[in-house]
Each structure stands twice: as structure tokens, then as C-alpha cells.
Symmetry: C2
């Protein structure tokens, strides 16, 4: 795209209020404020219980500015879920990098411990728990959104872990017959109990608690999938 | 309680319509019909979207009969959750019995496989998934109900498994340092992935899928907690 074509477009036919470019810092700030206000209101008072007026007020925006950026509550909700999916995508990509050539017999256990720690802290955040609960609460209205979230957040991370484990298995650092199963077992050994508890009680675990599940999860994972070369049971 | 005191009470002060005894077969049938209708309507159209009129109609009861048995929707919702908790209580009790003296080196693996199978089929039923989703959806209105459910369903079953594992550890059939942790790892190795997926997508797994997670969960569990005497990795 040439420099000239990136200048703000003139008012387009059909666009009632043509605004500045989407990457304009003011637009970025405005949209971030709208999303943050919507997230916090949806989580606190539910999707149905929140109006565009509430969101504009909480974000310190005029209604006109809010509507110029997001046509309706649906658009904001979709954006919020998309942000978490993007986070999961980055997390999955980092993961693939981490399980690359630099993992060796000597540092495999440390790498898995570090990954489990990051996974636990990422998944068991109060915002993630609250968003998951909101998605389930709104599933009657937005059935696709919770399904998409599953695919793009836990599903995507587990797929990335599976690829990483397959690579480690090829190098004989792990004994893994079914990488997807091993990756899911890893994930739910690490976050299963605290996540299910948090989903029902609405209370995210203390990070000490989350980290203890992570450590013990790796221990159990290695008992099955370790080759015995990369450090056995810690005493 | 004497036989005489179990006779139906005379009209009590304050009770506008004193009915027959709660264990009268007609009362049991009426209450079961009301609960079944309420469960199915709550799951289909949500708690807020369901009226006592809807429930009476679906159960084939007059409104008066319905109100004589359940004062309001809250009472029905509480009853539905209570029924699942009662199921979990029975399941937990059977479990304690199963992990008793009759488990030996020879049948430990088979006992754990059978227990994992039953756990998976009990937890991953469509009705349980739907109820869990409903509890989360209604948590803003009934925060205590989902919390109580956690304590009395998964919480109670994990506690029972922990006691069973502690007993097996005393007999040197398992190596378990922290029975509660081992029990929770067992549970989420067995149901973690399919349960989390079902909670978000609303689709309970096929039973073949559930049973594969159960088998592989026991395999991983035994790799860490087995003594090596009770059957190693299956080929």
C-alpha cells in the first residue's frame, strides 16, 4: 500500500461517519477503552444486563464515538473473545519455539516445569475464569462463541503442545505414542482440578496453589512419558 | 420415630393445603414429574426463561399441585442440584467400599480401570454437563448453588477417592504421598479434557471417546503411583 493510499479516506458512500484510520493511536486508545469497559461490565453484570450506554459511560466515550467503533454489543463481545484467542495463539507460537532444538536431556525437565508454570498462570487468571464463565452463561444466545473459544484457546494450545511433544519424541527425549493425548493429559494434570473448581466456584486459585498443581502435574507426566534420562522423581 | 407418629399429620397451623405424606407414592410421583419438567425446561430455556406455569404444564400438574410441592422455582432448582449431589454421595460411598480389603495386587489395575470407566460415564453424561453449564449461567443469581455443587459433587468424590488411595497406600498397593492430590490427578486425567471441552462446546463426548480418556488416564496414573507390582504398562 502506498503512502498516499494510507491517508485517511474521504467520506465513503454509505459510511455515515467515516473516522480516522484503524491504526491511528487515538483510534487504538478509543477501541481499547471501549473493549476494557465492555469486558469489565459484561463480567460484572452479564451481557444482557449491560447496555451500550453503560459501556460508553464507563469508557468515558460519547455514544457516537462508541458506535463508530463497535456497531453493537455483539461486536464488542466478539472482540473480547478474539483478544483471548490472540493471546492463546501467541502463547502457542512461543511454545512451539520453546520445544525446539534448544531442549536437551539436561534441560527437558526444567523446560517442562517452566512451561507448566506459565500455562497454569495464564489459564488460571481471574479474567480467563470470568470470561469462560461468561461464555457459558451466554451460550444460549451465542452458542458459536464458546465453541470457537474452545477451538482457539485450549484447543490451539493443546495442539501446539502436541506438536512440541512429537518433536521431543522424535529426538527420544519423551516416549509419546499419541502426542495429542499426551498434550491434553499434560494440560489437565497442570490445570484440571483448579480450573474446574474455579469454573464452578468463580474463585481463581492462589498462585501458590496453581504452581503446586503445575509441579506435581509435570512429575506425573514424566513418570509416564519420560525416558528416564532426563531426571527422575525429585526428592 | 414410632409407627403412630408417621401417620399423616392433621392440617398444620400455617399450612394452607396440607397434603398427604411426602413418602406417599402419589406424592413421590408428583414431585418427580415436577423436578423432571423443571430440569428439562431450565436446561433448555434457562432458569429466568422458565415460569412455574411452564413447569406445571410440562409436568401435567395443576399449578395448585405444583405449588403445594414446591414453593417456587428456587426450591425446584435446589432440588435438582441436591439430586445430583445425592448421586455423587452414593457414588462416593460405593467407591470407599470398592477400595476396601477386596482390592489386591492381582486386581488393583482392573479395579482402577473399572472405577475410571464409571467415573467417566457418570461425569460426562449430557445431563451433568448441562446442569454444570446451567449452574455457571445462573451463578450471578445463585452464587452459592454452583459452589455447593462443587463441594458436594466433584469435591466429595475426590475426597472419597483420596481416602481409598490412602488405604491402598497403607497396604503398599500404591505409592501415594498426598492422597488428595493423587485423587484429583486421577479424576482430571480421566475426565479433564472431555469435561472442559464439553463445558465450553455444550457437547458431551461419545462414550468411546470418554472411555479412551479413562483407560489412558489410569495408565498415566499408574506410571507415577503404581508400585510396579500390579501390572505395568499394557502393550
Amino acid at each position: 500500500m502506498s503512502a498516499i493510499s494510507r491517508r485517511p479516506p474521504r467520506r465513503r458512500a454509505g459510511a455515515q461517519f467515516s473516522g480516522p484510520r484503524p491504526d491511528d493511536p487515538r483510534v487504538v486508545r478509543t477501541r481499547a477503552a471501549a473493549v476494557e469497559a465492555a469486558r469489565s461490565l459484561f463480567l460484572r453484570q452479564g451481557y444482557v444486563g449491560t447496555t451500550m450506554d453503560d459501556i460508553a459511560a464507563a469508557a468515558g466515550l460519547t455514544k457516537r464515538t462508541l458506535y463508530n467503533n463497535y456497531a453493537d454489543k455483539d461486536a464488542l463481545f466478539t472482540q473480547i473473545v478474539g483478544d483471548v484467542s490472540d493471546f492463546a495463539k501467541r502463547f502457542a507460537r512461543e511454545l512451539s519455539d520453546e520445544f525446539g532444538a534448544q531442549v536437551s536431556v539436561a534441560n527437558l525437565r526444567a523446560a517442562l516445569d517452566e512451561f507448566a508454570r506459565r500455562l497454569a498462570l495464564a489459564v488460571l487468571r481471574p479474567e480467563v475464569i470470568a470470561l469462560r464463565r461468561l461464555l457459558i452463561a451466554e451460550a444460549r444466545t451465542f452458542p458459536a462463541l464458546a465453541r470457537d473459544y474452545y477451538e482457539s484457546a485450549p484447543g490451539q494450545v493443546i495442539d501446539a503442545v502436541a506438536k512440541g511433544f512429537a518433536r521431543l519424541a522424535k529426538r527420544n527425549l519423551l516416549h509419546v505414542g499419541d502426542p495429542r493425548r499426551a498434550a491434553a493429559q499434560f494440560a489437565y494434570l497442570v490445570v484440571g482440578e483448579p480450573l474446574d473448581r474455579a469454573m464452578l466456584t468463580g474463585v481463581a486459585p492462589a498462585s501458590d496453589d496453581a504452581l503446586a498443581w503445575a509441579r506435581e502435574g509435570v512429575e506425573t507426566f514424566m513418570a509416564r512419558y519420560g525416558t528416564g534420562r532426563a531426571g527422575g522423581r525429585r526428592r
